[in-house]
């Protein structure tokens, strides 16, 4: 029997048991679709998080005071010293490194903002003009500490604060009071919403000097450093560590976090999660495979007389085996293809329902779904096919 004939004959068998074939194909398709949609969801979540991270800045180093790891003895402990503060002078030293494009020192605190007979507590960020580009924030109006105005008492309001305090008038140019000091509103941030658990709509930004005097401190909370390019991140990190060690009398008492490291961790976690979800979905493919096996065994039983006849008119055991094998292959192939389409459609619906979630199924997941479906179908057909091929023709013909 030639291959085209085998394909055709088993295809006819599938078409003549329509309901049965439809149900099996449906089961297989659901399995494949589940793999695709769930991995789309998992990978979408991963990409969502990655996007969130890059929204707080790219090629970012975060310098913070103190060491976040334990190593060796700490001579300061003997002398009764605490780790050195991170100061503005340190920030300026870091800013002079060749790998650094720009830096923003950062102080964070809470103060009372009052204007136009309104009053509320706000989160205060003290920094320089670079904070806005480094953190990928955008000004809707005005400016912050542009050249020549570095020392003036300027304040930038979050979008929500601006509209709350000045619902009817322009916020820019208004005078506000923050703590004991008066500031001139020089800019308003674009409405951005929450990102990484931090709502930029409800913060104010003031120059670092004012923030330090407001909070009565000389030490910095963080220094944000933007490196020239991605490839320089590691050397920049080392340079920052070396520079600050020198400035801190040879003491290794700061920590530098690269955004990449955080990102990579999240990436790994979510990738593992996606794999786990795909694995769970793949179980449904195995179930579909078992279903195919069951249906093919029933088919062998149902068609015993037919198998006997085929043998009587000269079919070899291999012919019979191939017929049943190809029949199962057709079923799983149809299931895989329909499942793939269903899965892509499901991901499309997901992207419609949650526009922020880039729910695209990764190629490996689609391929793996289809291949596992085919393998499950092939494995499931082996037992029924060999059982059919081994049937004794005389007994098979005797069965009605």
């Amino acid at each position: 029997m030639t291959l085209p004939d085998t394909l055709q004959l088993s295809f006819k068998a599938i078409m003549s048991y329509r309901l049965r074939s439809l149900l099996i194909v449906f089961a297989m398709a659901l399995g494949v679709a589940a793999v695709i949609v769930l991995t789309a969801l998992g990978d979408g979540a991963r990409r969502y998080v990655v996007n969130q991270f890059s929204s707080i800045g790219t090629n970012l180093l975060v310098v913070l005071p103190g060491r976040a790891e334990t190593s060796g003895s700490f001579p300061g402990a003997v002398l009764g010293q605490t780790p050195r503060d991170l100061t503005l002078k340190d920030a300026q030293l870091v800013g002079r490194l060749p790998q650094v494009r720009r830096y923003a020192p950062l102080n964070v605190g809470v103060a009372e903002l009052s204007a136009a007979n309104r009053l509320r507590e706000v989160t205060v960020l003290g920094s320089n003009a670079n904070l806005i580009p480094i953190r990928h924030m955008q000004l809707a109006q005005g400016s912050f500490l542009t050249q020549g105005s570095a020392q003036s008492a300027q304040i930038v309001l979050g979008a929500k604060l601006a509209s709350e305090f000045f619902p009817r008038s322009q916020a820019i140019g208004q005078r506000v009071r923050l703590g004991e000091n008066r500031f001139l509103v020089s800019g308003v941030l674009v409405l951005q919403g929450e990102s990484m658990g931090f709502n930029t709509d409800e913060v104010v930004i003031i120059p670092i000097d004012y923030a330090q005097s407001l909070f009565n401190t000389t030490s910095l909370f963080r220094v944000l450093v933007e490196v020239n390019s991605r490839s320089e991140i590691q050397s920049a990190k080392q340079a920052v560590l070396d520079t600050l060690k020198e400035s801190h009398d040879g003491e290794d008492d700061i920590t530098v976090i690269t955004q990449d490291a955080i990102l990579a961790t999240f990436d790994r976690i979510l990738h593992a999660l996606t794999l786990a979800v795909a694995g769970i979905a793949a179980i449904s493919l195995i179930v579909a495979g078992v279903l195919i096996m069951n249906v093919m065994l029933v088919a062998v039983n149902q068609r015993t007389a037919e198998i006997g006849l085929l043998k009587a008119i000269g079919a070899t055991a291999a012919d019979i085996r191939r017929l049943f094998f190809v029949e199962a292959l057709w079923l799983s192939l149809a299931g895989a293809v329909i499942g793939f389409i269903l899965g892509q459609f499901g991901s499309l619906l997901l992207r419609f329902a949650y526009p922020q979630l880039p729910a695209w199924a990764p190629v490996w997941a689609s391929l793996a779904g289809i291949i596992v479906a085919l393998i499950a179908g092939i494995l499931a057909s082996l037992l029924p096919a060999s059982r059919a091929a081994r049937l004794d023709p005389v007994k098979a013909l005797g069965k009605k």
Partner: protein, 227 residues
């Protein structure tokens, strides 16, 4: 030429041993018309199955056209069934989901005949057995006589040298049965060996040689002159 020597076929039914064929030797020349008769359980169907290579004897020798076929592999036996033997069954054994034409085509497909040739030969067969207007009908839509005609067309499409018919008229009424027998006899007249198993005396008497079996042995084997 069919040459069976000391064929024994034993079945085990529970702990009982049944000798379906007990040391049977028979020789049937090419172009003979033989009827095998006997009561149920006499071994006549088993004999037919062994001649048709569907069953294997426990002992004894079977030579077909001078070639020992008992020692052949399963694939080689399948090839002989495909090319030299045509089966006609009491219950027709048509594939219910295939049309009449497709049923007739099956042996050609198994034989790997190209589709063009298949089409020609199936059309010729449909014409010869007066089934042209039934070609696209499924077995369920055919009468008993038509079904057996399809089965005979299928059995002869590969132009076998031997036709084995097991109670070919058992499921047909007397009149239609007679017509089917005439068709089979036509094949015999064109030179095919025809072996018919039946327990209908009248039908058995139409053959030119009658073998009567009982308890797995040949009781009588004589020439017969059909009136």
């Amino acid at each position: 030429m069919i040459d069976l020597t000391a064929i024994t076929r034993i079945f085990h039914m529970g702990d009982q041993v049944v000798r379906a064929l007990d040391d049977v030797s028979v020789r049937i020349s090419s172009g003979e018309y033989v009827s095998i008769m006997g009561p149920s359980g006499s071994g006549k169907s088993t004999l037919l199955n062994i001649i048709g290579l569907l069953d294997k004897p426990n002992s004894g020798n079977y030579a077909l056209d001078g070639k020992n076929v008992t020692a052949l592999s399963e694939n080689e036996q399948a090839q002989i069934r495909r090319e030299k033997i045509g089966f006609v069954f009491q219950t027709f054994h048509l594939v219910p989901r295939l049309t009449a034409a497709e049923n007739i085509e099956l042996p050609l497909i198994l034989g790997g005949i190209p589709p063009k040739d298949r089409c020609l030969r199936v059309d010729a067969a449909l014409l010869a057995f007066e089934l042209q207007d039934r070609a696209q009908h499924r077995p369920a839509e055919l009468s008993g006589g038509q079904r057996q005609r399809v089965a005979i067309a299928r059995a002869t499409i590969m132009q076998p040298t031997v036709i084995l018919a097991d109670e070919p008229t058992g499921n047909l009424d007397h009149h239609i049965g007679g017509e089917v027998m005439s068709l089979l006899e036509k094949l015999y007249e064109s030179g095919t060996t025809l072996i018919v198993v039946t327990h209908d005396r009248e039908l058995g008497a139409r053959a030119h040689r009658q073998i009567i079996m009982r308890d797995g042995k040949i009781l009588t084997d004589q020439a017969n002159d059909p009136a």
